[in-house]
């Protein structure tokens, strides 16, 4: 992620609007998060679904990849819920 200064219209006062900056920050974080998700998902699903690489992805491999993607996102959500609960439990103890 680069410096934010060059991405924003500054207006005549030269001040950057907090709201605009925060919108861009959130978008950039969301994009990075999606990229991370896709990279890890691709790694896992390639390992699971592609045996000896052929000259194309055949139908069974395509179906496997699709199912694997769904399961990966299910797993991600389960992990997210569990981690969130654990954090709340730990905070309640303090």
């Amino acid at each position: 992620m680069d410096n934010f200064g060059s991405d924003f219209p500054s207006g005549s006062s030269g001040k950057m609007d907090t709201g605009t900056i925060m919108e861009q920050v959130k978008v950039q974080i969301a994009v990075a998060n999606a990229q991370e998700l896709l990279q890890r998902m691709t790694d896992k699903c390639f390992k699971k679904c592609i045996g000896k690489p052929g000259s194309t992805l055949d139908n069974s491999e395509q179906k496997c990849i699709a199912m694997c993607m769904d399961r990966y996102m299910d797993a991600w959500n389960t992990v997210s819920r569990t981690y969130n609960s654990r954090l709340q439990r730990e905070r309640a103890r303090i």
Binding site: M1, K15, T18, I21, M22, V25, K26, Q28, I29, A32, N33, E36, L37, R40, K44, C45, K48, C49, C64, M67, C68, R71, Y72, D74, A75, W76, T78, V79, S80, T82, Y83, N84, R86, L87
Partner: protein, 96 residues
Amino acid sequence: MADFGSSFDMPSSSSSETADAAELQRLIAVEQQKAQFQAQVHNFTDVCWDKCMPDKPSSKLDSRTETCLASCVERFIDTTLSITNRFTQMVQKGAH
């Protein structure tokens, strides 16, 4: 994941600009915390997928797998805490 750094050098010639900078810093710190949470979820999912998912992807997550994933997260955190605590003791005793 981005490193926003802990300091935000903004010119503040007036008190309202200083307040803006402080507010921005606070808002960014909140987003940074959320991003760290997401990063951890990616890590846990990576590790726990290998531990818990059956060889053939299924049409939905069965309850055994769900339980495994949840336990995996909890035990991984417990392991991290164990290691941190014991390592701290080791360092305090002068071992490396």
